[in-house]
């Protein structure tokens, strides 16, 4: 992305204070209203634009810190799965793509499983990392969901899954498609154990991820403006040869069509989740 900031201001600042002292991401442009946002303010505002309220990308770690009480959580290890089962290669080897994503994100794959408390209640969160190959779901991600479900049952904890994913990881072929029934079994086990299973839909949630565990929650919460759907917008436009409206497949559109319970601003997420978990888990409190 090139604009007056990166072309002009940044080099200018660099020339004054020296290159090393100025991080590349000092300013960010809001993709919605194009306001220039100062990185520090943006971080303080949970990566929500001050001008228009647009919800920008929010890192998994920031999100876990936001949702868990006192920002305290522990990583739940996910068992390792066979590496590159198909020996897939397109223009690039899948093995190399994984290694690059691992180097970039410092994570094993596109999912992080964490345990902690929300509103004092034991909770497991499985959160997708979109920076890792578009949050795509292969066997490792499937394993993460299964592990999250198992540990939730074992600890009598609620399960919250936070997808941010383009869908199945095609470099794992049919194995990735099989993660749809596999994760469906996992969340079914949580439901059968009588524990809450909540989905927090974030941008984007599409394809095989939206068409499996992500649409099977007891409660569906979506972030404002998040893109949620089965088929990609471009595929639909090519099929029907028409331009689609801007709000198509947004969180708000899904709510209007009865697919999500609520659209909740990032700043209200913790309180909302805490209240829901309280209602579902503390079912008998004597009135004070």
């Amino acid at each position: 992305m090139s604009n007056w900031l990166s072309d002009f201001i940044r080099p200018k600042i660099r020339s004054i204070v020296g290159a090393k002292d100025v991080p590349d991401n000092l300013w960010e442009k809001c993709p919605s209203c194009e306001a220039m946002l100062y990185a520090k303010d943006l971080a303080e505002n949970l990566h929500v634009c001050h001008q228009c309220g647009h919800h920008l990308k929010f890192s998994v770690h920031d999100r876990l810190n936001l949702l868990f009480d006192d920002g305290a959580w522990a990583n739940v290890p996910v068992p390792t799965v066979p590496f590159d089962p198909l020996k897939f290669k397109d223009k690039k080897k899948y093995a190399d793509r994984i290694k690059e994503s691992q180097a970039k994100t410092n994570e094993k794959d596109a999912i992080i499983v964490a345990e902690g408390k929300i509103n004092g209640l034991a909770t497991i969160i499985a959160a997708f990392n979109f920076d890792f190959m578009g949050g795509s779901m292969g066997t490792a991600v499937g394993e993460g969901i299964v592990r999250a479900a198992e540990i939730a049952i074992q600890k009598r904890a609620s399960l919250i899954v936070i997808p941010s994913s383009g869908g199945a990881r095609m470099q794992e072929g049919l194995l990735s498609l099989m993660q749809m029934p596999r994760t469906t079994v996992a969340v079914r086990m949580v439901k059968d154990a009588g524990l809450p299973y909540i989905v927090l839909l974030t941008n984007p949630t599409t394809g095989g991820v939206s068409a499996s565990f992500a649409m099977l929650g007891d409660i569906h919460i979506a972030e404002p403006g998040a893109m949620i759907g089965f088929a990609g917008k471009r595929v639909i436009e090519e099929t029907i040869r028409e331009k689609l409206p801007d709000d198509f497949q947004t969180a708000e559109y899904l709510k209007e069509h009865g697919m999500v319970d609520m659209v909740v601003a990032r700043k209200d997420l913790k309180e909302t989740l805490g209240r829901i978990l309280d209602l579902l888990m503390r079912r008998n409190i004597k009135a004070a």
């Binding site: 799965v81 066979p82 089962p85 198909l86 897939f88 290669k89 397109d90 223009k91 292969g138 066997t139 499937g142 394993e143 299964v146 199945a168 095609m170 470099q171 794992e172 072929g173 049919l174 194995l175 990735s176 498609l177 099989m178 993660q179 749809m180 029934p181 596999r182 469906t184 079994v185 996992a186 079914r188 086990m189 394809g207 095989g208 939206s210 068409a211 499996s212 565990f213 992500a214 649409m215 099977l216 949620i228 759907g229 089965f230 088929a231 990609g232 595929v235 639909i236 099929t239 029907i240 689609l244 198509f248 497949q249 069509h257 009865g258 697919m259």
Partner: protein, 314 residues
């Protein structure tokens, strides 16, 4: 659809054979001899071509318009077919058909995608691409199967779930997800056969089963080779390479232990012997049902869950 390029030498021979047959009235002995020679040559050619089809060629065979479709199987292997319509919520979907029927003595619930076989029926059936209504009808049928302890047979033949505005508005994702869940909760045996194209979410929605079989030249994939090529190679021109990389053939998928068996097709593909194909499919289904009968519903569900939980672990 134009003839498949790799079949051209076969089609030429078959053309000559037909031509010669029409001439036999002249009672020329040489013609009979020539005919026998050509027929033997033709079947040798079929064997040699069909024994080493590339993945890209299998994609073409799997999509061949003259392969037997859902309706052909219903006619060929079931009696008393009683189609059931509608999802009780919005509409009926002709892309995904189903109902009650009798299969070799047993009551069954049958469901599957129907692609249609001419312009009119293709449009009626939306080329086998189901909308949420189709997947919600499937859920309904599976619930009924549980209620009456009737096994379910599903025949999969779809390029994928329909990517349309209306389908999205009515929750295509939710419908597919619930349909997968319905398969997993079904209290009776379920057998799925990929008879042509097993296209992604639209396929798995009705193919999460105790036994999953594929016809010899059917394909089953997370994404079409064209779609995969346009994303990863940035051009659909590379679809043939994508077909190889995706490992979408029945043989590859059996090796990966993602399906339970392969059903042989007649020489030269299912489109050269519809009746024989249907018979082979029916035999395999019968064998599968036999293995799963009698059943204990809870144990059946547990085993099905474990089967899918293990996918990707080995």
């Amino acid at each position: 659809m134009p003839a498949m390029e790799f079949e051209k030498p076969i089609l030429e021979l078959e053309g000559k054979i037909t031509e010669l047959r029409n001439m036999t009235s002249t009672r020329d002995f040489n013609i009979a001899e020539e005919l026998a020679r050509l027929e033997s040559k033709s079947s040798k050619l079929l064997v040699s071509i069909y024994s080493k089809l590339s993945p890209a060629q299998k994609v073409q065979v799997a999509r061949h318009p003259e392969r037997p479709h859902f309706t052909d199987y219903v006619r060929g292997m079931l009696t008393d077919f009683t189609p059931l319509a509608g999802d009780r919520l919005f509409a009926d979907d002709d892309a995904l058909l189903g109902g009650l029927a009798r299969f070799r003595g047993r009551s069954v619930v049958i469901m599957g995608h129907e692609k249609g076989n001419d312009t009119e029926t293709r449009i009626k059936h939306n080329f086998g691409m189901a909308r949420p209504e189709g997947y919600r009808k499937a859920q309904r049928l599976m619930e009924m199967a549980s209620q009456f302890q009737i096994p379910v047979i599903s025949l999969v033949d779809t390029a994928g779930a329909y990517p349309g505005v209306d389908a999205e508005a009515r929750g295509q994702s939710e419908a597919i997800a619930q349909s997968i869940d319905s398969c997993l909760r079904l209290r009776t045996p379920m057998i799925s056969v990929i008879i042509g194209e097993g296209g992604s979410g639209g396929a798995i929605a009705i193919a999460t089963a105790d036994r999953v079989y594929m016809l010899e030249h059917a394909i089953y994939s997370v994404i079409s080779p064209e779609g995969c090529a346009s994303i990863l190679w940035r051009s659909a021109q590379h679809a043939d390479e994508a077909a190889v990389a995706l490992k979408l053939t029945a043989q590859d998928l059996l090796n990966l232990k993602l399906i339970d068996g392969i059903i042989e097709e007649p020489l030269g593909g299912a489109h050269r012997g519809k009746d024989m194909t249907i018979e082979m499919v029916a035999n395999q289904i019968e064998k599968g049902l036999h293995d799963l009968t009698p059943w204990d519903s809870d144990r059946l569900i547990k085993k099905r869950q474990q089967k899918y939980l293990a996918m990707g672990r080995t």
